[in-house]
Every structure is written in C-alpha cells, then in structure tokens.
Amino acid sequence: DAGVTQSPTHLIKTRGQQVTLRCSPKSGHDTVSWYQQALGQGPQFIFQYYEEEERQRGNFPDRFSGHQFPNYSSELNVNALLLGDSALYLCASSWAGLAKNIQYFGAGTRLSVL
C-alpha cells in the first residue's frame, strides 16, 4: 500500500519563475492538504482540497494556487517566486469520512529559489 508520494524531490528555480509540485494521496484517501515548512519552523497550512475544490486556505497570497484531480491527486502552483518561498513543501492526505483528523504526510519537495 503506497503512502503519500510527492514529486519532484528537489527543485531549484529563480526569482519570478513559476513552479508546480505534485502529490498522490495514500490509497483510500480523498482529501489533500498542503503545508510549507521553512527552516527551523513547523509546517504551516497553505490550503486543502476535497472533491476537487479548495475547502480551506491558510494565510498565503494568491500566488499560491492548487488543483485536485478526479483521482484525488493534487498540484500546488506557485507563481512569481520570491526568495522567501524557499522551503520544504509537504503534502498530507486524509479521509473526509473520519472525524478524527489524522493526516499522513509525504516526504516533501525541497524548493530552492535563487
């Protein structure tokens, strides 16, 4: 049973560019959440997708957008990259039918903006 998978593992971009990160949820899960983890900090919630719609959003600008596909996989897009966007981006999946919210994380994509 595959867990949460993310691609790519590492990515280097320059300021102003755009990036797309991908996530496949754990088998049986239908909800995908994205988090940003800066160095020395805990993960911060970006947004969550369920039934192909953005359901919740954290305190991130509109440069951060996403999408969920019918197979529950998801993409995170970041436009007009800033140096401060350098971080580990984590995808987490869960099942909406379970009230107790255990989210399972992928290994993350390390984004470096130069």
Partner: protein, 116 residues
C-alpha cells in the same frame, strides 16, 4: 501569533530513561491534538493523538497527556531508545466533523536526542 508552542528546541535523554516533550496552545477551539515525529529527509510521521474529551492516551511506549485547563499537553516516551532521536512536532486542530479534515496548526518542534 503562535497558537501552538513548543518552548524547548532540544532535549537530550539517556537510553532507557523517560523523555518528556511539552506543548502549549492558546486557541480554545482546538479539540484534537497530535504528535508527529520527523526524521531528516522524511515527512512527518504520525505518532499518537488525543481528543479533548480524554486526558490520557497510550500506545506502547508512547503516552500523551492533556490538561485542558492549562492548555498543555505532553508526550512521554518510556523507555527512550536511540531510534527515537528525531524532531517531534505537536499539532492541533478543531474538528469540523465529517466532510473535510480540519487544518493542522503545528508547533516549531523539539529535537530529541537519545544517547547511549
């Protein structure tokens, strides 16, 4: 505004002893709490959770205690093993019921080192 705080950035414990990791929260709406463990180059791994209707939950060597009046929770690891060396994150959420999962608010983590 840090709603979940882990005030100890690091902790060193001898193998076989008890490790106690602490977490404080400020948001009264939080009613479900989780601990995650993170090794380098891996994503956070779920360890144990507790609902606000309980004050203790055990799973093997791991026990989480919740003190709602103090808005404080702690993770006890007994006995500590070298493989427990990792960064531990406390996370909190406000359960919304079925339909969508609630977002997690994380602390900044505590690095636990278990020495021989």
């Amino acid at each position: 505004d840090q709603q979940v705080k882990q005030n100890s950035p690091s902790l060193s414990v001898q193998e076989g002893r008890i490790s106690i990791l602490n977490c404080d929260y400020t948001n009264s709406m939080f009613d479900y709490f989780l601990w995650y463990k993170k090794y380098p180059a891996e994503g956070p791994t779920f360890l144990i959770s507790i609902s606000s209707i309980k004050d203790k939950n055990e799973d093997g060597r791991f026990t989480v205690f919740l003190n709602k009046s103090a808005k404080h929770l702690s993770l006890h690891i007994v006995p500590s093993q070298p493989g427990d060396s990792a960064v531990y994150f406390c996370a909190a959420s406000a359960i919304k019921g079925t339909g969508t999962a609630s977002k997690l608010t994380f602390g900044t983590g505590t690095r636990l080192q278990v020495t021989l």
